[in-house]
Amino acid sequence: MTRGGRVSNLRVMRSVRRLAFVALTALALAAGVRAAEPGRWWSPGDGGRLPAYATYANDYGDLGVLNTSGPIDTKGHPFFEPIGGNGRACVSCHQPANGMSLSVDAIQERWRVTKGQDPIFAAVDGMNCPDLPAGDPKSHSLLLERGLFRVFMPWPPVRDDGAAVEPEFTIEVVRDPTGCNTSPRYGLKSGTPTVSVYRRPRPAANTKYFTHHNFGVFPFVGKGPLATARDAETGLPTAMNMMADARVSTLKTQAISAAQTHLQFAGALDDARLRQIVEFEGQVYSAQVRHRGAGDLMEPGGPPGLGVRNLAAGAAGVLGNNTTQWVFPVGDVWKALTTPASPSEAPRNRMRESIARGHDVFMFRTFWIRDVQHLNTVGLGNPTKRTCSTCHGMHMTGMDVANGWMDLGVTNLPWAREEPLNPWNERKPQMPLFKITCTASAAPHAFLGRVIYTQDPGRALVTGKCVDVGSIVMQQFRGLAARAPYFANGSAGSLRDLVDFYDRRFNIGYTAQERKDLINFLSAL
């Protein structure tokens, strides 16, 4: 072999080694991310490390979960340990792979894997009613089919100071498919009168956006009206933007409440554990980071509002506009894409353009927003010709900036999902139905009056006010791809269902292209 040949061979070998190194490094990096995941499902007490950054696959691509304070040692951590009496931890219903919420797919998978023994199926709220037969999927149908947990509310409502609220309405059970509202033990006429409603767990991530003290947080709330709930520790008014009904308003009080109810924790969580939970929830972010069609959502020079790192860096408590800080900053970078470098990039570019168009549908496509209590009644007029971003206006999340409850029609008839009965249809209504009759002296619901049929009275179960019947706090848009179904009552099984609800509710008349673009945009958040 000549020297030249040896050199040549050496070069080839070096090249092969270099290629192998690059490939192995890439594999190791990829494997490292995956290896760092303790599995897609976090069981209470798993004890592993939640990485600083991990990705989880979903139908639309990958969701990223970012811990800005670094890896979390979950051993002994109260968010991850089964601190209550039913074996659950906070993580049971706030799974990283599901955007710190819980998808119905994951619930069904847990049923299959554990044969219904996972703590999420605990009788207290993972069953339609605790007195139903154990082990029967029918007893858990709302959880298995719509991802809904039972939320049990005292009736009449009780204020934080323990005083009873005198409600402005009576409540009757019209339909009780779960049996819980007419149960002699758990129902409205039991010894401890209780109303059972069924709601989705919300993402325990991106929390700075709904616990901020910035724009829109004042000492008084015009909706209702009421004095704003204050943080007992700081004395400051809160955003009142948590949970479906804003019944608690800080991460700490939410943790206390959830531990006592959902985790069946007897006693009081000590300050150290509460602090750990609040600190964890204050630093964890989740958002879609890779889109099946559009590719990397965090690549340099990409849309500045997409991806979990941009989300973590965003300003909280800002009302979006279209001049300085858009609700979801996407810029124009995906609007004028150059000719793709390779044919394989063409579909990716088409999807990116679709997402950019979907953003514009969200931001600029006007329609008549009509008959929404706490939206059309707050000074905008009824109807108001506006866009999705009118209500979903908070920079980076699409929530309201504060006090974001309104009656969109998700739980109140005539707009709530209700299939007319007929003798040839074996499907039966899943949700309870209540008849609300407001007193003559009460201010009526502006668009439904004094007799309202509802699947969930929402905020009215906290305030006792007729005007609050069916009002639900709107949710953030981030990580939607990982956590179907949508709306507080899980009535939209997919992003298509979600968009169709609005199209039907407001007679928007989306074109097929607009609908497709909007869904693609939502799936990239």
């Binding site: 008084f220 009421l226 300085t324 009824n382």
Partner: protein, 264 residues
Amino acid sequence: MTLTPRRAAVLFLALLASATTSAAPGQHRSFVACPIVRDTSSVPCWLAEYEGELYFLTLQTDVSAPVNPPQLGHQVLVEGVATDEPRVCGGIPLKPVVLSVLPEIDHSCSTMLPAEDRYNLTFEPPRPPGPSRGRLAFDNAPPPARPAAEAETLPKTFALQYDFDGTVAFRHAQLLQQIQEAALKGKATHIDITAYRTASLLSNGKTLTEREDIGRRRAEQLAGLLKDSGLAAVAYQLRWQDAPAPDGEKDAAARRADIVVRGN
């Protein structure tokens, strides 16, 4: 076209009819009607018809606007002064105007008129129908540093204006905050609230009277809100009374509560 005696008579009658139905500039108009939405190429206009004349009430703007639009599904009490300004969206502008959405539902109030070129606005609306921009955009600049807390000089008086038959509304949150801050800064010991029940003399000579208990409800609601906002230790004196007889001009102004924040 020649003006025949017959045509002249028709024109005279039309002018006479116009003179009897249209409000002269400066004339107070007070009436209850269904609001009408007329779309334009930008934001919709809000109108109401009274005695065959169309009045322009307001434009769709934002919650912070001095006049908020009414609501379809409800009648509106219009209390305003006719102007000789150019018509907007076909209606005579009323300025100033106070609009009260009546609480009970009226499904007959459902008129939405489509956009027509002849009714497009001849000026830029304060706020477009989409996200805020231009002069109304929130620039999200950090709020100016609050001046050092100064002792509030008490007593201090506030007046809160209500819609007809209305209690505290969304737009009142800012004024309530001013009252609360004055009480906190001034270390208030007493808050006196006097709320009024009013009537409105309508342009047709009839009188529209608020519900009987509205004065008490207004006073008690204000006290409850202030107590819940951290002013529970303050002594409250509540009064409610009927306002003087309506005159068709100052009735909206009388629909109020007076709040006096006092110290020792």
